[in-house]
Amino acid sequence: MPGHSTPSQTVGPFFSIGLKHMNRADLAEGSTSERLTIRGSVLDGDGQPVPDAVLEIWQADADGRYHHPEHSAVPNDATPFFGFGRIPTDAHGRFSFTTVKPGPVYGPDGKPQAPHLQISVFMRGLLKQLVTRLYFPEEPLNAADPVFQVVPESRRKTLIARQASQKQNTLEWNVCLQGGDETVFFDC
């Protein structure tokens, strides 16, 4: 008999005791591809940093494969690219993690999606997670990406990380919960 999914409830202020065992800020582990650092802040409606948020990342490997039975499980891979990260913000609302740029994964029409990270954001005050994506700067596939295309043009920039000035292989990207730069969040 079909049922309804259990309602979501906030992680509350003390989630770190339960979730920190799997904090994982190095998603590049086991990959030989070029490493990237992605860093930024989570900001609330007053522009204040959020020191009690946690980001969860899910991404494909550098060849565009999700390590999942529905796509491209590699069970015997000696160093499987796990694809999952869990990164809490620090006392100043900042986060930083290392990963590799994922390859393009095909989209609903068989055409490639632009490389992107799937990101869930949890914190006190959020009754359910917020879901967003991080896209990469100067990526030619961005324009034709099926998800990017449904986002109003004026808001697309909130999904694209910026090259950090004077710091190679480092990208910056903020999660803005409200305000003029409010990040695009998805219903998916």
Partner: protein
């Protein structure tokens, strides 16, 4: 290429909205723009699976993590993790955390003037079995005050975090206890619009898992989003 099936959208009223002003913290943290609906892609229908080392075989028992036993009422919490079609979700990670019997979390920001228990961390993990079953042994958490409004108290609850098969099935929720008088006044519980949906957050007292001379049993089944039907099934 097979058409990709997404995960069902929740029925209206069965999930909280991001903004629920009685829960004051949501006011500055809920987005103002409506969520953007997107097509189904592999990025949502895939998700992480975790090696069994993530949850040691002992991690389901929160009463055996220290030299002594924690204070409080010993309980077991068990149930099944199912999808919306009633199919078991196998081998999925379940993470829980909770306050101790006095209503205090082992967290530096918890300022409630109630004692910590040196024999209780309040953290458990396990994987569901082939039938989607899970089980934890713990103590009943205490209620505790919070600053949301005057004389605000959270009902007794245990936090649950689950992944399921896909990024789209990720769920963090809270399990409550039957008959808790504080539920009526709790804005987090009441952020779920429909009463029938709220009731799904309340565990039931369970004789079957109540062990003589040992512990009371509570049952809490968890339902994760189900897959959309194929055109044929529709």
């Amino acid at each position: 290429m097979k058409p990709l099936l997404g995960y069902r959208k929740p029925a209206p009223g069965t999930q909280p909205n991001h903004l629920y002003p009685p829960y004051v913290s949501s006011i500055k943290r809920a987005p103002k723009h409506p969520l953007v609906s997107i097509p189904v892609t592999l990025s949502e229908t895939t998700g992480p699976s975790f090696p069994t080392e993530v949850a040691s075989p002992k991690a389901f028992d929160l009463t055996r993590q220290h030299k002594g036993e924690p204070l409080g009422e010993r309980i077991t919490v068990s149930g099944r993790v199912l999808d919306e079609d009633g199919r078991p979700i196998r081998n999925t990670l379940v993470e829980i955390w909770q306050a101790n019997a006095a209503g205090r979390y082992l967290h530096k920001n918890d300022q409630h003037d109630a004692p910590l228990d040196p024999n209780f961390t309040g953290v458990g993990r396990t994987f569901t079995d082939e039938d989607g079953r899970y089980r934890f042994i713990t103590v009943r958490p205490g209620a505790y005050p919070w600053k949301n409004h005057y004389n605000a108290w959270r009902p007794q609850h245990i936090h649950f975090s689950l992944f399921g098969p896909a990024f789209a099935t990720r769920l963090v929720t809270q399990m409550y206890f039957p008959g808790d008088p504080l539920l009526e006044f709790d804005p987090i519980f009441h952020s779920v619009p429909e009463e029938a949906a709220r009731r799904r957050l309340i565990s039931s007292f369970d004789w079957l898992s109540t062990e003589p001379d040992l512990s009371l049993g509570f049952r809490f089944d968890i339902v994760l989003r189900g897959r959309e039907a194929t055109p044929l099934e529709r």
